[in-house]
Amino acid sequence: MIELRNVTKTYPAPRGRRAILDDITCVLGDEGSVGILGRNGAGKSTLLRILGGSELPDLGTVKRHGRVSWPIGFSGGFNGSLTGEENCRFAARIYDADVDEVIERTREFAEIGDYFFMPVRSYSSGMKVRLAFGLSMAIDFDVYLVDEITAVGDRKFQKKCRDAFREREQRSSMIIVSHQMKTI
């Protein structure tokens, strides 16, 4: 569950500052899932970063209860010189999850074979996404922040992701942002 209280976030624009969030007070993800629609550049990803806590609002407070994920969907946060396994180990440690279990579940889900034990910099972009998605499914979050995961991997992998999401929806809540009505 994420509580926003009087949250304001602005960005510098050619003329003055542009407000992305203007004095928002609400509660998200306490039950079920939330979809947030917006055009490109409306501030959806920024909103997710603020919800997740990797970016701070200009004003107001954001309170998170339970384990909230990082914005899932692109493969940020990996260090290229470490292997997939080492990157998973790091993530498991900072989320205080069982390290061996996370590594095992990620390896199984990502299906990238022995590349799992190679430095991430040698991965193709598809493999990176597989690893990122596998890792986010391997740690049990109470709230998932999802950023546009429309085209990830091949069709078989996409189905796997959808199934994993469905299954997660039973226990956790999702906050999904997209610019496509269909995704939501």
């Binding site: 010189s81 440690r93 900072i94």
Partner: protein, 258 residues
């Protein structure tokens, strides 16, 4: 509160393990390289001193004199260097919400301090073994304090550069040239007691000299750090940390995560 502290320590520890891996992991011999650099420095200056027949200060072996100075200085300067790059190198990690800019600098501080303290122990112990002397630390508190304050000075300088670089990226290029004079003026090649009055007056403004003096007083039985001042050194450390953490508050909203 305690839970939050525990979580943060958890993050710092994970970062430290990861830094260890990225700093030493990609080379063969890994951690050994941490020892190679100071040893090469010490031995080259040992050779130069021996060639020009310059004696070491009274009561110190030439090797011990150079080693105490060099390792203390390296502890300061390497900590400053590594900490100053903490955000630039690990920006991708800020992607994880619980990783904060200060955690990145803490992890590097921890790793550098642990590394150089081990270097100190190993190099000084090997001198004792080669010369067949027994270990006698004359003032353990002064030795430990000197090393820790050198590391804290390095952290303060590194922290300020690290945060200021977020606003002025070109500072990264200036750090090297700005630090270079310190190599010659930090007491690696002289002791405060052996300096002429005029030179001492000026050189004692450099806080690193004070740290080196404390380390030497701690290690050598016959050396008294008459001119080193703990309040002066602490004053530097606290001011640097104050400015550094102030800058952190200013930049934490400005960092752009990929």
């Amino acid at each position: 509160m305690i839970q939050a502290l525990d979580r943060q320590l958890n993050v710092i520890w994970a970062l430290t393990l990861r830094e260890t891996r990225t700093r030493f992991g990609q080379y063969q011999l890994g951690y050994l390289w941490a020892f190679v650099e100071p040893i090469v420095w010490i031995l080259s200056f040992y050779l130069i001193f021996a060639l020009v027949d310059r004696p070491s200060p009274r009561g110190m072996s030439l090797f011990g004199f150079l080693a105490t100075g060099m390792i203390t200085y390296e502890l300061f300067s390497k900590t400053a260097e590594k900490v100053s790059l903490a955000i630039n190198v690990n920006r991708a990690l800020l992607f994880y919400p619980q990783v904060r800019p200060l955690d990145l600098t803490f992890a590097r501080w921890l790793l550098e301090t642990a590394t150089h303290c081990s270097v100190f122990v190993v190099i000084m112990a090997s001198e004792l073994m080669v010369t067949g002397q027994s270990l006698r630390i004359s003032d353990p508190l002064s030795l430990l304090g000197g090393l820790l304050l050198a590391s804290a000075l390095g952290y303060g300088v590194g922290l300020i550069f690290c945060m200021a670089q977020v606003i002025f990226p070109s500072l990264e290029k200036m750090r090297g040239p700005m630090m270079r004079p310190l190599f010659w003026t930090s007491g690696i090649f002289f002791t405060a007691n052996s300096l002429p009055l005029e030179a001492r007056k000026i050189l004692m403004y450099n806080p690193v000299v004070h740290a080196v003096e404390f380390v030497r007083q701690g290690w050598f039985t016959s050396y008294q750090a008459k001119w080193a001042s703990l309040p002066y050194l602490l004053g530097w450390v606290l001011s640097l940390l104050f400015i550094g953490t102030l800058l952190e508050r200013e930049i934490r909203r400005r960092i752009e995560v990929t």
